[in-house]
């Protein structure tokens, strides 16, 4: 029994100790720790769930964004594709152009090659020519040398000839001197002869003059009329101191009246104007008269000066012709009446005309216009220009007056 009691004693001791231990150690904490682990697990689970959800959220967001982004990317890719396609076409085109250029350049190169070939040919020809020319040059040199040699020999000959010539010249000079001397002597003798002849002539002339004086004195006592119809006016210079008495020539100048006649101071020309409205020129030098030409007008007066014929006409106009070619040069119109007289005014090319319309007009032949009109008051019959400067004009009028005009001044002194 005691053993069991002892047994139970230590056993109970152990049991109580164990129970005490368990109570202290585990029971206190059991619930706490289990709750804690539960809470902990919950927390971790929730934490992980939270993490997952946020990850999902992010993923969804990125998906949405990436959707947009994928669309954008698609657009970008499409754009890039377009750009690439364009580039490709561009490059193809450029390739075509480049190959075209290559072909062109090839043809150019071929042409240039041909040109080079032709140039080579010409070059060869030219070198051949050069060779031949050089041969010619050498030949020419040779001939030149020969010529020079000839030239030298000729020069020597020439020198010799010149010496001979100079000696001959000396001789000639001497001869000429002799000749001159002889001629002088001859002239002297001739002069003497001439003086003797002059003396004889003078004597003869003196005798004649005396005779004439006597005749004139006789003639003055005895007057004679002249025929008005056919008069050959002697326009000769005053030193021909004979009045023409002999009729040299008579011819029918015009078909009708001959209203004007004038000598030309230059040639042996006679100008006549007639009622047949013609102006004829006659060459009297050969002793015959020839009609040189006929000119249309109703001449009232004629004037000849130099190579020009001035005809005043009844058709109120004045005409100027050249004698040489008988061409009408000027027609001066402006008068309202018959032009009775026309004269060359002192300095050419002025012309003054007097007309039935009681005016005098001064014309400039260069401009063919009337420079001045002078009112005379009466029909002008005839004009005279007095001095060579042409400053004074004298006009005779129907009203029995003669008027003197100063062409430089606009006044009219009348008589």
């Amino acid at each position: 029994m005691t053993a069991t009691v002892v047994c139970t004693n230590w056993r109970d001791n152990i049991l109580t100790q164990l129970q005490e231990r368990n109570r202290k150690e585990s029971l206190l904490f059991q619930d706490l720790i289990s709750q804690h682990t539960k809470a902990f697990e919950n927390a971790t689970r929730l934490y992980s769930e939270n993490l997952q959800l946020s990850i999902q959220n992010e993923k969804l967001k990125t998906e949405v964004r990436s959707d947009l982004r994928t669309q954008e990317r698609i657009q970008q890719i499409e754009q890039k594709l377009l750009a690439n396609a364009e580039e490709l076409t561009e490059l193809h085109r450029r390739k075509g152009e480049n190959s075209q250029q290559i072909i062109d350049l090839n043809t150019l190169v071929q042409e240039k090659d041909k040109i080079i070939a032709t140039k080579d040919v010409t070059l060869a020809e030219n070198t051949a020519k050069i060779v031949s020319l050089q041969a010619e040059v050498s030949m020419l040199d040779q001939s030149n040398r020969e010529l020079k040699y000839l030239n030298d020999t000729l020069r020597d000959e020439h020198q010799a000839l010149q010496l001979a010539f100079s000696s001959l010249e000396e001789k000639l000079r001497k001869m000429q001197d002799e000749n001159r001397q002889l001629v002088e002597r001859l002239i002297k003798y001739k002069a003497k002869d001439a003086d003797r002849m002059n003396e004889e002539n003078d004597n003869f002339l003196k005798n004649r003059y005396k005779k004439m004086q006597k005749e004139i004195e006789e003639a003055c006592r005895d007057t004679r009329g002249t025929s008005p119809e056919e008069l050959v006016e002697g326009v000769g210079p005053l030193y021909q101191f004979t009045v023409p008495t002999r009729l040299t020539l008579k011819f029918d100048a015009h078909e009708g009246e001959v209203s004007a006649v004038k000598w030309s101071s230059v040639d042996r020309l006679l100008a006549t104007g007639g009622a047949d409205r013609k102006l004829k020129l006659w060459d009297v030098s050969k002793g015959t008269c020839e009609s040189k030409g006929s000119l249309e007008l109703w001449p009232s007066t004629l004037t000849l000066r130099g190579s020009l014929v001035l005809g005043a006409s009844n058709d109120y106009a004045t005409r100027v012709w050249t004698i040489a070619d008988q061409r009408l040069r000027h027609t001066l119109t402006g008068h309202s009446g018959k032009v009775m007289a026309a004269k060359f005014l002192g300095e050419a090319p002025k012309v003054v005309t007097g007309s039935h319309d009681r005016t005098l007009k001064i014309w400039d032949l260069r401009s063919r216009a009337c420079i001045e009109t002078k009112f005379a008051g009466s029909s002008c019959n005839d004009l005279v220009t007095v001095d060579s400067a042409g400053s004074i004009i004298i006009s005779g009028h129907f009203d029995k007056s003669i008027r003197f005009w100063d062409s430089r001044r606009n006044r009219v002194p009348t008589i």
Partner: protein
């Protein structure tokens, strides 16, 4: 015969509250890891119960340490994982400290000189079975263990792992059984933890004169000359009169050893 089911039950139910904290030097994350609280059975081994702890703390550790072994440390001393948890607690827990038992979890600088490295559970199982066989050799000259089938070994291990009293003890009873001609074991399998190690000795449960030896006798034999030797096991001080046979049958750890911490 381990008949005192009440005692066995009380022994089996022994659990300790433990808080695991990750060493602050090894925290790589910007968040402070929460301490992990767990009720661990006294009879189990640390590697069997620390799966969740490892998983929890692995998140906070830098990547290069992920593959390293986890080791536990208390008061600067690394814990030897091949001691049962209860033994470690009785040995190391200082009386000034308060429950729950706060251990520090390390991943870096595994102290290879002090602690064995373990890679997987098979190693622990092998160690457990080795202890078991050693105990059986001491008790029955190894006959019972060797006559057990593989599935019995597995059942023992699974029962311990999954904390299944009936599953474990249905097989363990055989080991606690005495052969017909004896009513005691040949020798008592025990370990006395003293001076940072443990000692074992061949001690019969029955004296020469047939008397059942008590704990006192064991201590006298283990530590001759020392009078006041207190022995702690399973968190309590068993009376010295307790017979060794009964002690061995009921107060053994699952590896069939008595683990006595000498204070």
């Amino acid at each position: 015969m381990a008949n005192d089911r009440e005692i066995l039950r009380e022994i089996w139910e022994g659990k300790l509250p433990v808080s695991f904290r990750l060493d602050s030097d090894e925290v790589a994350d910007f968040r402070e890891p929460d301490p992990f609280y767990l009720m661990v059975p006294r009879l189990s081994y640390f590697p069997l119960v620390t799966d969740k702890v490892k998983k929890h703390f692995l998140k906070y550790v830098t990547n290069d340490k992920q593959d390293q072994e986890m080791w536990l440390e208390y008061n600067g001393q690394p814990l030897k994982w091949h001691y049962p948890i209860g033994v470690l607690y009785d040995l190391m827990f200082s009386t000034e400290d308060l429950l729950p038992w706060s251990l520090t979890v390390h991943f870096d600088k595994f102290p290879e000189s002090e602690v064995y490295k373990f890679s997987n559970k098979e190693m622990i199982e092998a160690y457990f079975m080795a202890c078991l066989k050693e105990a059986d050799v001491l008790k029955h000259r190894g006959q019972i263990v060797s006559s057990m089938q593989k599935k019995d070994h597995n059942q023992l291990w699974m029962g311990l792992q999954n904390d299944k009293f009936d599953q474990f003890w249905s097989v363990n009873r055989k080991l606690m059984d005495c052969p017909a001609e004896f009513d005691h074991f040949k020798y008592i399998p025990f370990r006395c933890y003293v001076d940072d190690g443990y000692r074992q000795k061949l001690i019969k449960p029955v004296a020469e004169d047939g008397r059942k030896k008590t704990l006192r006798d064991l201590l006298n034999e283990m530590f001759p000359g020392r009078n006041s030797v207190r022995v702690k096991t399973h968190g309590m001080f068993p009376p010295l009169e307790t017979p060794l046979q009964w002690l061995s049958e009921h107060l053994s750890y699952p590896d069939n050893f008595l683990h006595l911490c000498v204070i």
